[in-house]
């Protein structure tokens, strides 16, 4: 039987995770250009996943009376990959925007290439 | 609305989408259509074993080995086979699409489709 504190903790994490996911999704819908939108899900959702994973760790640890840690693997994977996704998406969006005359703000050139002064 | 009707509608929509795309004139679109049809067919096979929620057919000690405790494993095995086969055949068709485009200069499904 799951102790009450764990029950509450799990419940909290579950709701928190879902809220994060929802906020990320709202951002995805509400924000008005791609670069802004990108911020919302890449992390809100990631955090949401983290919360649910914590809930899962606790839940299965108590359910099976053994430590459940494989959820950490997913966390590892998410943290490993999410930055790359975002990074590649920005590159793609900028290139696509350039190609199709869309309205994303182009990034400035790197400072070392700026004319001196 | 019952769950049964919902999933039946889902399979139907997938079928309709697949069929519509299947009837397009470009091979790539036809491949897309076949993908949708294959989704529909896989779900169709799957649902022939009826709906079971939270009862994965992983045998556990002390649980009676009946279809009320576990989902029907057989359609699942059939779907696996079907998925793999349609995966392989999609690859073949895509390669044909590429080759056909290289040979014909267009990707119409008929040899002189772009002429008519």
């Amino acid at each position: 039987m799951i102790p009450l504190w764990a029950d509450i903790l799990i419940a909290l994490m579950v709701v928190l995770g879902a809220l994060c996911a929802l906020i990320g999704a709202i951002g995805l819908v509400r924000l008005d250009d791609f670069l802004k939108r990108l911020h919302a899900p890449t992390k809100a959702s990631t955090l949401g996943v983290g919360c649910v994973l914590i809930a899962s760790i606790f839940y299965f640890t108590f359910l099976s009376r053994g430590v459940s840690v494989h959820e950490l693997l997913i966390t590892l994977l998410v943290f490993l990959t999410a930055p790359v996704s975002a990074h590649l998406l920005i590159r793609a969006a900028l290139k696509d925007s350039m190609r199709n005359d869309r309205n994303l703000p182009p990034p400035p050139p790197p400072p070392n290439l700026l004319p001196p002064g | 609305m019952s769950l049964e009707l919902l999933v039946a509608l889902g399979v139907g929509v997938l079928t309709a989408c697949g069929v519509y795309l299947l009837l397009r004139s470009r091979l790539f679109d036809v491949v897309l259509g076949l993908m949708f049809i294959s989704y529909a067919v896989n779900l169709f096979i799957f649902f022939m074993g009826r709906l079971a929620t939270g009862r994965a057919p992983i045998i556990q000690n002390g649980v009676p080995a009946t279809l009320t405790s576990y989902a029907d494993p057989l359609p699942q095995a059939l779907v696996l086979t079907a998925i793999v086969i349609s995966f392989g055949m999609t690859a073949v068709l895509l390669a044909i699409a590429v080759r056909g485009y290289a040979e014909n200069g267009h990707d119409h499904v008929d040899e002189d489709g772009d002429r008519s």
């Binding site: 590649l88 | 309709a16 079971a52």
Partner: protein
Amino acid sequence: MNASLLLWMLLLPFAGAVLLLLVDNNHRRRSAWIAGLITIAGCVLLAVLAAAVFDGGMVRFRVDWLPSLGVAFGLRLDGLAFLFALLILGIGALVVLYGAYYLADDDPPARFYAFLMLFMGSMLGVVLADNLIVLVVFWELTGLSSFLLIGFWRHREDARQGARMALTVTGFGGLALLAGVLLIGRVVGSFDLDAVFAARAQLQNSPLFMPILLLVLLGAFTKSAQFPFHFWLPSAMAAPTPVSAYLHSATMVKAGVFLLARLYPALGDNDAWFWIVSTAGLATLLFGAVVAIFQHDLKGLLAYSTISHLGLITLLFGLDTPLAVVAGVFHIINHAVFKASLFMAAGIIEHETGSRDMRQLNGLWQTMPITATLAMVACAAMAGVPLANGFLSKEMFFGEALAVDTHRLLTFATPIAATLAGIAGVAYSLRFIHDVFFNGEPVGLTKIPREPPRFMRVPVEILVVVCLAVGIFPAVTIAPLLAVAAQAALNLPGVEKLPVYSLAIWHGFNFSLLMSLIALAGGVLLYIALQKKINLHTITRLPGDAKLLFDVFIDNLVVVAGWITRITQTGSLQRYLLLILIAAIVAGVAGVWLAPSPAGSTAATTAPANMIAVAMALIGMAASIGAVVMYRQRLTALILLGATGLVVAMTFVYFSAPDLALTQLLVEVVTIIMMMLCLKFLPAQSAPQKNSFRHWRDAVVAVIAGLGVTWVVYQVLTRPFNSISPYFLRTAVGEGGGANAVNVIIVDFRGLDTLGEIAVLGMAGLIVAALLRNMPMQNTKLGAPDDAKVPGNAHRSLLLQIVAALLLPLAVMISIYFYLRGHNLPGGGFIAGLVFAIVWILQYVAIGRFNVESRVNADYATWIGWGLLVAGLTGVGSFVAGFPFLTSTFKYFTLPVIGAVPIASAMFFDLGVYLCVIGATMLVLSRLARVNDPAGQRQPERTP
């Protein structure tokens, strides 16, 4: 003894044909000798067997052929068969001799004689057959071999056409005959002639009698060129003359009347037979005789004459009296003899003058007196002049024509028509003589006419002698033969007597003699009148040429056939698919509709849909409909496809199918990667389809299909279920050695499915690899790179490289994890293999194809080979223990510290799956990746 001789007699010509085909074509003499010896050997055999036949007996051979059909390969040599065999072999021998001189240097003699032997054998088969099916077999063979013979001068258009026409018409008749024979078989229960004869009453009382009669007569009439099926015969004159002499006197065309004679005992002697056969005969008799007069081609004249005489014989069989049958048989013999000699004479004339046109041929009496004499005697026989054999049978015919008294109309019509035909017959015979041998000087001949080589004339001489011998001394020469033949034709048992007939030349002055005289005198007058009134040479074309009608018919048939073909073969894949779809919808609806009680009550066990299920369903439907709406933007469609696939995977999750969810996710991503690899090559946008009717039509079909599937799924889901599946759940752990029932089914219960499945996957890899080799690249968009493809390394993402390199060992670990535990928990070789392949292809994406393939052995086809081998050998391994293929076994090995380690044969099988999946997937992906670089020669790029 006799029986096997009979078989040999039949087989000899076929053996000869084979022998001849092996002979070099350049040796005319050798070919002729082989053919001649074969034919003479046949004659000898026939002579040996003659005794038995003339004793009133019958020689038979019988061996089982199609037992359950009641078809024995039966031969019989009765009187009728003997007569025909004699004609076939005797005249055959003369034709062989004649042909040796007739053939030109550039005619391949071996082929000619081989075809001739083939035909001779087939003809013998027809007359010797003791079983109707066997008869039909040889009947069709005569058609085939005559096709070859008529078309022997294949460079000539008229020969080709004549051959085709003969084959078509007689083939048609042959099929009709087959149908008739099969119906006889149905009524009688046997195809044996004896049984058929015995079942005469049963046959004639059967409701099927009329169809049987019509079908059989169709066969006979087409073969014997009865009006209106006569037109193939004149066209067949394009054949070399020895062929004409053989086919159109003694053999091919006689097959039809032989059939009449053969089946007369079973089908004859009734009103239907009388009316149909005699009418056809009468019409043919008159028609052929009249048309013959107006021919300019010597062989054309003989051809129409043949038609006319065949009509005569047919009419005799149609008159339906025993005496008429005797007369018919008699005329068969006589016609064969004089017509063969006439054809040969015509051939000699052609051979020596280079022409057959009577408008050119004149006055040959001067240069070819011997030939002329022979031809004149034969013509006399044809015209029915006394002292020639033709006179005797014609007399008998006139007598029988007068004896028709059963039917009021024919009582008068028959003798009149017979006389008219006689007049015409005399006229064309006279024309043959007068127009060729007299009538002035030759016109425009290419050769100077002279007598033929000595031995070329011998066959004609022999035949003419026979004509005269029979004509003058019938009782001595022909009587016994005619007796046995007629007896057989009437199927009279030995004791029963033939009707009384006399073979004398002089019967006293009677009506038939009067008719003969009228015919002779009338014919002479007619010919003179025609030459005086309308110079026969000026007639260019006869009206109503049936040959032209036939051509038009065949041409139209081809046009109609082409039209039908184009309707079913539009060449449009979209139409084909639409057709299949409609057929499928119809099939489904029909099934439900035809069932005794469609759409009945269902024992619904429904659960309400909840929020998350509805949301998922909405997303899936929206994504798929979105893909349809935006399908022309291919990348967008792919993204939406990806979303749909995710929903499908989630459906599997929700409804307790983790293995399926895993597989679905993996397959979908790999598929999308494949499609993207193609998209670099194909247009990024689909060309618009402007036809809005099509869109609507397709949409309607799609909606109907969707509704149908929805209905079926709902029907099934809401009814109770009994399945074999509990067995798998019960035995998975105990006997299958795994807790994951799905995996146990895949590698054990239905391991054979999986074996086939990986074979398919492996082949897919091989096919893709094969197809993307040696591609023509000039048509593709890669020919003109767009601005998106900037060369250089700047595009490489450092981040991606590092993460991909890190993910690789991680995912390989996960892959092995999936592989090892698949038997007990979700996973297995397929899933493991795809995980492996995906991170591998990720390396391609991260560091480029060259960098990957230069670092590892990328011979993926070998992986497939190993996979199939390992899986197959695992299955075979159970043979060792004496168990069937793929029988699984598992053992726990107890190791120190580690404890019990399970080793299951299923794991080896799954290893095969694993290897095959990796090999196939990587092969597909890597080959699609190198499409723009088919040779794989791109230079390495430095990584930043």
